[in-house]
């Protein structure tokens, strides 16, 4: 019986082999099938394209915001109105983004590191008071795209236009060389209709000058020739709009032979830190009373210092010869330089008060900013409801206080004028 079975098992072995082969083939096929299903789950998703498209459009929106803000600033010289105009553009963009990409679950948060701004979606800065003028805006974007599981992406978008007058090239107050850069790249195609030159007459009023020619020298440098309204001018202001983006920037050069102007016509709504010809300490002064030659550290350079041993400094204005209306906010823009430049964060507070003629004082308001590195810091001080104006004959007192830890041996310099062109200032009526 067993012998018979063994004899007949040859055919069964063939079937058994066929079954084994089938099992192997099917298991390989199943594995392959499973792999192909997994590859479907890992299919390409356009995360990179979507994120880059959003970033690219944020740059365009920021450029538009700076363009609108610079035009408003040029018309009104009001930081508040200019910043508001720029912020409106960015708010519109952010809301459109959410509406357009709602199907992807896009969440975008726009912010700045400026803790004081109530609508801190964008930071806009203009400094057109020196020989290097700047129009600058930035915003930080935090982006999540839920549909792609893409979260926590953060990027800074910024735009800047600078105009630099080279004072050594000013020839007989009829020609000078200036440099125009956009995002640190030369702007090569400026035309006559995009530039205005104004001269400071002897009474410091601004008078338009006729621009005779504009010649491109390369690397963003231009020679401009103009006809001043009179021979004895006190300085020059150049205003330019970039050809493609229409962002306006301006810079100013005051001649070295500027004499102390007659008092009575100063603009007391914007005060700068510096000295008059006769003052022994740093004061808050209108530009016309500020004398760049009367400084302790050379041309216009002053640097009140605060440290652990002396965490507070007081700077006062002379008696203000007119009433100044206060409304809403006062903008204080200070250039602060930590020394040594270690990355320590210190809270700096700026407090403004009025000292009345009878010696009594009243607090206007205060604002605090975290300072970790060298640069300009904005302190937007909300004016107390009980104050509507700074009366004639009173003084403005600015108190700058910093919080230092016990073992902190560093100090903070409050720089009055940076690189001969950008100045710390207080705008009382923005």
């Amino acid at each position: 019986m067993i012998e018979r079975l063994l004899k007949n098992s040859r055919g069964q072995i063939i079937i058994a082999l066929a079954i084994v082969i089938s099992v192997i083939v099917l298991s390989i096929a199943l594995s392959t099938n499973k792999m192909s299903l997994q590859s479907k789950q890992l299919r390409y998703e356009p995360v990179k394209e979507t994120a880059l498209a959003l970033t690219s459009d944020l740059n365009r929106a920021l450029t538009l915001a700076l363009c609108e803000a610079s035009r408003k600033y040029n018309l009104t010289r009001s930081y508040r109105e200019a910043a508001s105009k720029g912020q409106d553009v960015i708010f519109n963009w952010a809301s459109s983004l959410i509406a357009a990409y709602s199907h992807l679950g896009v969440k975008a948060k726009l912010s700045t590191s400026d803790e004081n701004s109530s609508r801190a979606s964008i930071n806009i800065h203009f400094d057109w008071s020196g020989e290097t003028g700047i129009s600058y805006a930035y915003t930080d974007l935090d982006l999540d795209i839920d549909a792609y599981g893409f979260r926590g992406w953060s990027i800074r978008s910024q735009k800047s236009v600078t105009l630099k007058i080279f004072p050594e090239t000013v020839r007989n107050d009829t020609a000078l060389i200036f440099n125009l850069m956009e995002d640190n790249k030369p702007v090569p195609n400026l035309t006559l209709n995009l530039i205005r030159v104004y001269a400071y007459a002897s009474n410091y009023s601004l008078v338009p000058s006729e621009v005779k020619s504009l010649k491109y020298l390369g690397e963003g440098n231009y020679t401009v020739e103009f006809t001043p309204p009179s021979k004895n001018i006190m300085g020059i202001t150049i205003l330019a709009a970039t050809p493609t983006e229409n962002i306006i920037v301006s810079a100013r050069h005051l001649t070295n032979n500027t004499t102390q102007p007659e008092s009575g016509n100063e603009d007391w709504t914007t005060l700068y830190m510096g000295r008059t010809l006769n003052s022994t300490e740093v004061m808050l002064l209108p530009l016309r009373l500020w004398d760049p030659k009367a400084s302790s550290l050379g041309h216009g350079k002053e640097a009140p210092v605060i440290s652990y041993g002396q965490p507070e400094t007081h700077i006062t204005s002379p008696k203000i010869p007119c009433n100044i209306t206060l409304e809403g906010e006062i903008y204080v823009n200070l250039y602060i330089a930590p020394n040594p430049d270690a990355k320590k964060t210190r809270n700096v507070s700026v407090t403004l008060s009025i000292i009345y003629e009878d010696g009594a004082s009243q607090l206007i308001g205060s604002s605090t900013c975290s300072v970790s590195s060298e640069g300009f810091y904005n302190f937007n001080i909300a004016v107390s409801n009980s104050i509507s104006r700074i009366p004639k004959g009173s003084q403005l007192l600015m108190t700058i206080t910093a919080t230092f830890k016990k073992n902190d041996s560093g100090s903070l310099f409050i720089i009055c004028e940076k690189d001969g062109n950008q100045m710390s200032k207080i705008i009382l009526n923005p």
């Binding site: 055919g11 096929a29 394209e49 365009r60 929106a61 519109n92 357009a100």
Partner: protein, 156 residues
């Protein structure tokens, strides 16, 4: 004696046929499992997605969209856009590019602005491999546009 041998032979033949059938069936099943379903469609959608994003990127970054949107009439915008797309998009590819604009009223709402296409709407409804790519565009005039391009491989 002869009958026993012929029975044995028949059994062997039957066993061989059974073994062959098992192997044939397993191979058939394996082929069905190995052949990926619609992989061609997946690959084509991916390629078309990339193509769509590239087209939008090019239209936006080289300023073509800005100049098209500046056209005074919608018809001129449509003609310019169509001419441009016909030059960029590969042959035998159906496209539909639609631009929406943010309503400048108070509410955030996207309104239809302009659309160009080289195919009937059913092509995009019935095809298994429709690709779409989107972009948001802020123009220099301050208007915000939402652009969507749909692509389908034709001729298949």
């Amino acid at each position: 004696m002869l009958k026993v041998h012929s029975n044995k032979g028949q059994v062997r033949v039957f066993e061989a046929v059974a073994a062959a059938t098992i192997i044939f069936m397993s191979f058939s099943a394996a082929i069905l499992l190995i052949r990926p379903q619609h992989s061609w469609a997946i690959r084509e959608v991916e390629d078309l997605d990339r193509l769509g994003y590239n087209i939008l990127h090019n239209l936006i970054e080289n300023g073509a969209i800005e100049s098209i949107l500046r056209e005074s009439s919608l018809n001129a915008s449509r003609i310019k856009l169509k001419t441009l797309l016909e030059g960029i998009i590969p042959i035998m590819t159906y496209y539909n590019l639609t631009i929406f604009v943010r309503d400048e009223g108070g509410a955030v709402e996207l309104k239809y602005y302009v659309s160009v296409s080289n195919a009937r709407p059913e092509v995009f409804l019935n095809s298994p491999e429709v690709s779409s790519a989107t972009a948001i565009y802020t123009s220099r005039s301050g208007r915000i546009y939402y652009i969507i391009i749909m692509l389908v491989k034709g001729g298949g």
